[in-house]
């Protein structure tokens, strides 16, 4: 009987610990975001292809953008910049305020061309932007600025 009790307690404790760990993991997953995405934006005339790396942790976020702007199939600009911002999260809604925009040596796109495809979050320090970021399972996040998702951001392993 005692052995049975011990075995049952062990079994239940193990399962409970596993569930609690999973719960904690999912909570942590929601709070700390580190992901990468291949993202293409089409507007009337241009197409911008980007690789976005995003990291959000403890109210500080960093996005790194690398890509190109195409017009009629031709490259008209290169993007290489890192944007640091602070954010406040409330129910998956992230209000971000740009702190710095650091351009790389290959970044030669104008702000006007950039603004045609991306939020001014990526252009001017002090700009505020709101994004909704939702978990898609444990493998990534969907980033929205409206009900239509902007991109799927895959969790970096």
């Amino acid at each position: 009987m005692n052995k049975l009790k011990t075995a049952l307690i062990f079994l239940f404790c193990t399962i409970s610990a596993g569930l609690l760990f999973l719960w904690w993991y999912l909570i942590a997953l929601s709070r700390n975001i580190e992901c990468v995405s291949n993202y293409t934006i089409h507007n009337d005339t241009d197409k911008m292809s980007l690789l976005i790396s995003r990291k959000l942790e403890h109210g500080k976020g960093t996005d790194t953008l690398i890509g190109r702007l195409y017009r009629e199939g031709k490259v008209v600009g290169n993007i290489e910049r890192t944007i640091n911002y602070r954010y406040i999260e409330e129910n998956s809604r992230y209000t971000m305020t740009t702190e710095t925009v650091l351009k790389g040596v290959h970044d030669d796109i104008s702000d006007k061309e950039m603004a045609g495809c991306l939020s001014s979050l990526y252009i001017k320090p002090g700009t505020q932007s709101v994004s909704v970021i939702k978990n898609i399972g444990i493998t990534g996040w969907m980033v929205y600025t409206s009900p239509v998702p902007l991109y799927f951001c895959r969790k970096e392993s």
Binding site: M1, S16, Y151
Partner: protein, 287 residues
Amino acid sequence: MPEKKNLKSASMEVSISTPASYCLLLLLEKQGELVTHEALFNYAWRRFGMEATANTLYQNISVIRRGLSQCGLKEDSIRTMPRRGFILSPLLKVTFLNSDSLIQEKKEHKLIISPPESAETNPEERDLSDATHFEYAVPAPELNPAVPGKGPASSPEAVSTLQVEEAGVPLKAGLQLGYLLSALTCVLLTCGILLYVSTSSHFSSINYQYLTDYKDCEYYINSDGETDGRAIRLVHQLNKTCKYARYNYLTKYSEGGMVSVINCKKKLGYLSGSQCISEYITRLDDE
């Protein structure tokens, strides 16, 4: 001859010698009566062709007392009648129970030994008494009287095993196990609810439903958007090739011209990760 003699409670198992087990059996069979030294000598030794001294007899009785005490039966259940014999306390409650669970298909009976009734008057002692019930198992066919006197007796084979268990414990242990299971189930349920609450939002984010297959591509569309012929037209309009990735997740609402196309190598799922290329189209020309 029996090979194994045990006094067994839930928490303790005490081995006693073969003669001691025969002495206990005879005392049980003649509970409340004086069992003389001679009767014990005859029952435990002489019928097997052995002789024992009074000192040996007293040592074996002492072994029984110590064993019962270790098993939790604290009362002085075996009384010594000087120069005459021993009496198993009539206040002890001894019950014979049927059992199917013992040796080699033999139908057996169990004797349950309980402390005196007086213990029931005090709740604390009552709890103690619950912990000091015993079961004493002997084979049923051997319960024929082998020694003159009232009550069941047994032949030498009667005690091929001698087991004493706490009889009050199964119910109590069952209750404890029930409480334990209930508590643990509550813990599990709580964990499950926490997990469900934290994951439900994740599941609700995957709100795509299957739309169609078109040119080696599999299309899914947001279930709260356009899921009819307009969605099929959108697929034709996109006219995607799916060499890199087969699964396409479309999001389009009636209002607003924006379309999101997420093109993945694997299906989007809760656990399965996937490499995807996301496209955001701010204006799609209507046909």
